[in-house]
């Protein structure tokens, strides 16, 4: 399950960044991948649709969100947590 979440999230981010999945590394930030604020909102939408979850994210206060978007790894971890909470 965990690998699956990671792969899917990377696929979503790669599509948004117009990159190959192999070019997305876990320690990169979305900014470094060239994803702007609109791209971020679209990525979150795609994640919500892919996993049927609701991501708590407000563009006005990203740093206060429970959903950590600082790197690809943090996004994967946050999605894994939300998916786990949903199946629990």
């Amino acid at each position: 399950m965990a690998e699956n979440v990671k792969d899917k999230v990377i696929a979503i981010i790669a599509e948004q960044a117009v990159l190959d999945e192999s070019d997305v590394s876990m320690d990169q930030s979305l900014e470094a991948l060239g994803i702007d604020s609109l791209g971020l909102v679209e990525s979150i939408f795609a994640i919500e649709e892919a996993f049927d979850i609701t991501v708590p994210f407000n563009a006005n206060e990203p740093e206060q969100s429970e959903f950590d978007i600082s790197s690809v790894a943090s996004i994967v971890a946050a999605v894994e947590k939300l998916v786990a909470e949903q199946t629990a």
Binding site: L38, F45, F57, N58, A59, N60, Q64
Partner: protein
Amino acid sequence: MKRVVITGAGTVNALGLSVPATMEAMREGRCGISELNFRDVDRLAIKIGGQVHNWDAENRFNRQQIALYDRFTQFTLHAAKEAIGQSGLTFIGELAATSGVILGTSGGGLTTQDENYRVVYEEGKNRVHPFVVPKLMNNAACSHVSMEYNLKGPSFTVATACASSNHAMGQAFNMIRCGMATAMVTGGSESMLCFGGVKAWEGLRVMSKDACRPFSLNRNGMVQGEGATVFVFEDYDYAKARGADILAEVIGFAMTSDASDIVMPSKQGAARAISGAMKDAKINAEDIGYINAHGTGTAANDKTECAAVADALGHHADKVMMSSTKSMHGHLIGGTGAVELLACIMALRDGVIAPTINYEEPDPECALDVVPNEARDVPVDVVLSNAFAFGGLNAVLALRKAA
């Protein structure tokens, strides 16, 4: 060039069903934002808005009218009645031929679209009411006002998202100024508070779930409102000759395009619009006593707007009062510049500066005098009203106290 004055005002919004009620609420710093109440609201993440309460369309309009009047048209007609009534004008003969209607709206008959899409998609019906198109079209409100009051001159609807009303009023102003029209009924209306309307906004993730707190460090987004505000703009000489009560004079207008981003505001674009309005009005920064801010309560707008005002006004930015009344009535999108012009008129006429309510923590990036939480009694002679739209379209009006 002709001078242009305002001789009538009318409104309906979350703060009240008339101009006196709205100004009283603005003076008291009352909040009109509350729990939303409409079908399927339980499926929304955002459940607050500046909704008009106790509207009761059935008691205001007959069955045939309701078949043609979307909520945004109903609001417009209500506001137009108050405004034209106050102006004392009757549009007949040459006056009718040279007077028109220019209104702003962004969503037009969005509630009508929402309801009828639901009928065909969700309920699976294959038939909708025959008047869906004339009811939902963006110019419906403009056309019904023209029909109701016999306004036969230049009339159209402007849609520039959150700047629609300011763009509309700017056109009305310039038409009278250049002699194309004697009087113009102008302003704007919006009614996006329906399931589809709010659901679409939710997607952008810029809406607050709890309150609109412009310029406050803990602001977390915008809150939508609904309603309409309509004014009568009139050739000064015509108004003077008939002894009309002049509410304020419109002295300048400017519009710019950021040409940069579809949602992120630009300091340069906003500053150019503010400077442009000052130049058009032939005023200096020191003349400006009050600015009605666009002040949406989003992280991006408020800091960009403060920086733009600082750029355009220089040192005087530290002295000018600037408030966002969206904290009280919410963001009326295409109608917002119109309802906010009421705060400008109140400042000029009554010397009362409407506050920015819900202000809790200073933000170093919004370090202007935002008139926090309580109205202030300060006489002012010149004011500006800012509107900066998604798509980077900016429109700023300048007004002077009636001489």
